[in-house]
Amino acid sequence: MTVESTAARKPRRSSKRTSAVKTTAKTSAKTPESSEPELVQLLTPEGERLEHPDYSIDLTADELRGLYRDMVLTRRFDAEATALQRQGELGLWASLLGQEAAQIGSGRALRDDDYVFPTYREHGVAWCRGVDPTNLLGMFRGVNHGGWDPNSNNFHLYTIVIGSQTLHATGYAMGVAKDGADSAVIAYFGDGASSQGDVAESFTFSAVYNAPVVFFCQNNQWAISEPTEKQTRVPLYQRAQGFGFPGVRVDGNDVLACLAVTRSALERARRGEGPTLVEAFTYRMGAHTTSDDPTKYRADEERASWEAKDPILRLRTYLEKEGAADEAFFTALDEESEALGKRVREAVRAMPDPDPIAIFDNVYADGNPLVDEERAQFAAYQASFADTAEEGK
């Protein structure tokens, strides 16, 4: 699909507000005038509010400001991390620039007792879960491979092998169902991951066992340098149909639509009606990671066309139009953003290298004599340098 055709398509509009959220997630219908599938959209790029018959949402001004704040702070954190990588403080960074609405919308749809299985780019979702953003940087600085307790925020470790976590999410959701709990599980992955066997297997398992899991695919159009056309010949959300559960495409740059659609899918899972695939149609504005160069594989015009759909700008326009936020709010948020950037910067620079002996920590839960032996050898070897230093004095 081309970006132009998507941009040109206008979403279906309804003047009637639906009074209640429909109980069943539906597969989006195709518009008659276009072969492209329709996006669920509640807020246009111009900041105009729309209604959708299946996904109504009614938020207070306070809640709207909260979503805006989440997106702004997440973007500020991401920008700081990108800068820190450029300054040599981080070995790598996977930016979420442009995907704030998909992550904050879906992240704010979650309940505390839901469980999240992220990839390595879900900084906004982590923010919603209350994971301290500085914890996300240890892996990229090279001081750990994750480093947080997944159970303290129900936010699993970042997973780098593409798509692996969708199976963990499915198994976890099978366990939730066995426990008789009414919480739900959400698995994040990208358009590239949709080609992985593990994602297909997670679709199979979750459908067969009716697991309460939501698959949240952020189709950001590019898997490193490969466009979505190199991953699939059908719109990604339509994959779900073949596995026997609903798929829906949502405007991934529309935080309200992402919130409404994810909430609906989570409620469906809680009711015991099984998995849903949500395809958040969005765009990665930056590089895949700081290691690649998007100018080598995509046109500037493409990025420019998506800039017009910026998730933060459109909500700001709406807030201002509705009088839901005043200048004092934006000024205070700017200050909060700068403070966050400073805190992140200082935290990263202060992050100590781990004690070398930590190589041997937590390899096994029940211990292992080989690890003990190698730890002792390593400690003695390290200590031998201390002796040398002493002698040199």
Partner: protein, 326 residues
């Protein structure tokens, strides 16, 4: 005291039954493990007694089996998954190596992965391609995994109990050609540690180290050597990761000679690891270089040739003679 004579297959079945009965968090998962009871009937009758929610027939997707087991373990369950045959584990190898083995360390010890991956392994049953392999070294090489294999019914019973109770992921290799061998199982006694080797036969002239299906061959070789006046000690390793090097060292310090026997290819195999470590530990006790007997650096052959490929009595005795000739 409850002493019962049963096959390895039956011992595993009884052990899994006991595990399901003792801990409601234990689950059995795999292809055909339900009504059929597994292609080797190791899970026979378990679904009937514990229900489809505890003994779960899965889609035919090995990565999915292990990947969802990881998720269930994260939720507090203790899944015991069955890979139908050794050669079919590779679609799940990614989940086992990149996820299952490493997650505890990545979470700085905050989460545990008590998953048992059962793999019927090894040759000798005349099977077709991918049904007779011995990939234990590929798993033993990976930090975070523990790899074990019983050689008799009693160990099958108790090692499975211990594997299920372990908070670490355990790759549990079952010697499929020994499934029907019977032995005494003391179902009440407290077993020794899971990763401790056992002396299967005492001797003074040479040590044979083996595990799983090759222990029986080594015991037969030792008996044959006895007729020629040679006293062979046979050590059943039981665990390929970690390895009980202390037990091997004790034996080699007594006999001065070591031959390691396994079905897997010799090249980069567990015998190489044992030879290297024991040479380091026992250099001045060794009367001969450590010798290895095992499979060749070739794909597992068609069934009509597997007797040539697998170490048998004669190949083991030949290695014994070569060692004693030094």
């Amino acid at each position: 005291m409850a002493m019962e004579k049963m096959s390895i297959a039956k011992a595993l079945n009884e052990s899994l039954r006991k595990a399901l009965d003792t801990d409601p968090k234990v689950l059995i998962m795999g292809e055909d493990v339900g009504k059929l009871g597994g292609v080797f009937r190791i899970t026979d009758g378990l679904q009937k007694d514990f229900g489809e929610d505890r003994v779960i027939d899965t889609p035919l997707a090995e990565s999915g089996i292990v990947g969802t087991a990881i998720g269930l373990a994260l939720r507090g369950y203790r899944p015991v998954v069955e890979i139908q045959f050794d050669g079919f584990v590779f679609p799940a190898y990614d989940q086992i190596v990149t996820q299952l083995a490493k997650m505890h360390a990545r979470a700085l010890g905050k989460i545990k992965l008590p998953v048992v991956v059962r793999i019927p392994y090894g040759g000798g049953i005349g099977a077709v391609e991918h049904h007779s392999e011995s990939p234990e070294a590929l798993f033993a090489h990976v930090a975070g995994l523990k790899v074990v294999s019983p050689s008799n019914a009693s160990d099958a019973y108790w090692m499975m109990q211990q594997a299920v109770q372990s908070d670490d992921p355990i790759i549990f290799f079952e010697p499929k050609r020994r499934y029907w061998d019977k032995g005494e199982v003391e179902t009440d006694s407290i077993p020794g540690p899971l990763h401790k080797a056992s002396v299967a036969r005492t001797g003074t002239d040479l040590t044979l180290v083996a595990y799983g299906p090759m222990v029986k061959v080594c015991l037969e070789a030792a008996a044959a050597a006895q007729e020629e006046g040679k006293s062979i000690e046979v050590l059943d390793l039981r665990s390929m990761s970690p390895i009980d090097f202390d037990a091997i060292q004790t034996s080699v310090e007594k006999t001065g000679r070591l031959v390691v026997v396994h079905e897997a290819p010799v090249f980069y195999g567990s015998g190489a690891e044992i030879a290297a470590r024991i040479t380091e530990r026992c250099f001045y006790h060794l009367e001969a270089p450590v010798l290895r007997v095992g499979g060749y650096h070739a794909p597992y052959p068609p069934a009509r040739l597997e007797d040539e490929y697998l170490p048998g009595l004669d190949r083991v005795l030949d290695a014994v003679d070569r060692s004693l000739a030094y």
